[in-house]
Symmetry: C2
Subunit: 338 residues, 2 copies
Amino acid sequence: MVEDGREIPTLDEVARVAGVSRSTASRVINGRTYVSAKAREAVAQAVTSLGYSPNMLARSLAMKRTNSIALVVSEHGDRVLGDPFFARVLRGVHAGLAGSGLQLVLLMAQDEQDHGSMATYLTSGHVDGALVVSLHGEDPLPAQLVASGLPVVLCGRPLAKVEVPYVDSDNFNGAGQAAQYLIDQGRRLIGTIAGPRDMAVGIDRLSGWRRTLSMAGRPTDAIAHADFSLEGGMAAMEQLLTAFPALDAVFVASDLMAIGALHVLRGRGIRVPEDVAVVGFDDSGLAATSVPPLTTVRQPIEELGRTMTWRLLAQFEGDADLPPSVLLPTELIRRDTA
Amino acid sequence: MVEDGREIPTLDEVARVAGVSRSTASRVINGRTYVSAKAREAVAQAVTSLGYSPNMLARSLAMKRTNSIALVVSEHGDRVLGDPFFARVLRGVHAGLAGSGLQLVLLMAQDEQDHGSMATYLTSGHVDGALVVSLHGEDPLPAQLVASGLPVVLCGRPLAKVEVPYVDSDNFNGAGQAAQYLIDQGRRLIGTIAGPRDMAVGIDRLSGWRRTLSMAGRPTDAIAHADFSLEGGMAAMEQLLTAFPALDAVFVASDLMAIGALHVLRGRGIRVPEDVAVVGFDDSGLAATSVPPLTTVRQPIEELGRTMTWRLLAQFEGDADLPPSVLLPTELIRRDTA
DNA sequence: CAGATTTCTGGAAGCGCTCCCAGTCGGTGT
DNA sequence: ACACCGACTGGGAGCGCTTCCAGAAATCTG
């Protein structure tokens, strides 16, 4: 590193200039009690005249607390940075951190097997806790971190059987809401385009749909799986239409797939919602601007980030009876497709 | 904080278990020379058996180097997180950091006057350097940071007269390219929808356009300013059309504004590109998908992030003759509007 | 006014690491 | 045999801060 410019003042210098001991200087800087007004004044003076600001590193080392938390994305960074979902979570986290005095360290995998170095970084005292966004199903990272004693909160229900607190949208009941709504609208044969079988969101939304239908005595066999992509949604819709010609409603596990379904429906000259009703999930930007505007289940994504942060901070405080995990309520947004 | 689980092992313990001194243990952990094979082996053993990982805080304190840099956004976080420009810069920075062993700390203003606390954080030894994305014109932060001796690289040419290295797209020549292209296409009266007068991008793109036209002996008075918004672009287009009915080409300083202009043109029944040619700037996602697809000047945004990072790292290395700042070349992307 | 508090203060021991320095030990050269 | 040099090692002094502890000064008891 090049010439660093001026020397940066230390607590010792402040103390010397103020004519007090380092202890006393430290006390006034940290606003502690048992300091005379005179000493307080002198130190304050010295601080401003020297332009002193405490070295956080040293402070952290002494206090064993870093005042920063990590937002960990175990996926490769490039894939996730363009994702609006992630941007909204990040925004929520940022909002949740406001006023806490904590800093956010962003940690994204660089290579595919970067997990080792991430784990090392996280467990070696750099941060006080971690928020983990783990889109992938089988991620060993959360378990590792918890095992090392680092406070961790996950984004989304983990598939693995680990004791890690998480925050998630209430996918189960959200899907239920959608199904119930379709039933209430008098729909007779209600199908679903579900997500992958190996992702918690896919599983939960499917079982929510299934529960509500079967409790209403309806058949629950009109299921097609897809991968949350537009093309996947289209293919699944074709499939469903072929297998169940009488289908008059479909709950689609994501807005993007729902839009794919809409394409197929229009392509076949099937009217929405007259002939087939469509309900999506997410209420992403796409839903409001699609044609026709999509009826969908809104999940509160910013809220998710904010809640994760709150949960982690609460854990720092040592709040006794903290819910192990929290589910955020969803809301059915009525637009034109159902 | 709650019970932290197991005690985390220190270098001292490793040394004790390996039966060597702390110095020796440190040597093998840092892969330094002058260590006997036996000692090396013993320490390696101890490390794995104890699950030791060095405390970065302590290391940083001793070495006066933190191995992390900050990406600073002086704008309020909420405004910037949805911005695809920022996401792409971030992605570039992330890519640029790959393999460097440096961590990224994300710093965004929380309140409006959060600058003070950001400056404090940055100058108090938390990071080795800072990448500052300062969309606002008159931002005092860069100057403060540089004054404190922290290596800094800016994103975008600063308006203020400060000696801070920056990386920017070559807005001046990019706008020139667009203007030249329109001239070459045989356009006679070429206008521009320029950005705000108080933003460097606005100024540079305007003067690039102006330079090229005036060197070709063309008039440079068909100018309308707008604020980079869709609505602003629409209003400016109206204005231009009214003031210069003979206008047959327009260079618009951003894709979003260009799309606004397109709306207006279509609304008036003016054919694009037959009657009026339109060239945008950015090549954001919008450009390719607009109807008709927008001819535009591509600026390499990821590259911008990557270059900022490279510039900062080079500064760490103490590279002697580093360019004070670097301009990234732009490229004209021909589509259907010109 | 002696004695018990209650402020206030500085010394010193850490936090976990790096790195300089003085030293030990074998093996060369003459 | 001597000095000498290179590989190796451990002691110890920091890095800049917090915090415990014991002692000094000021204040309060009856």
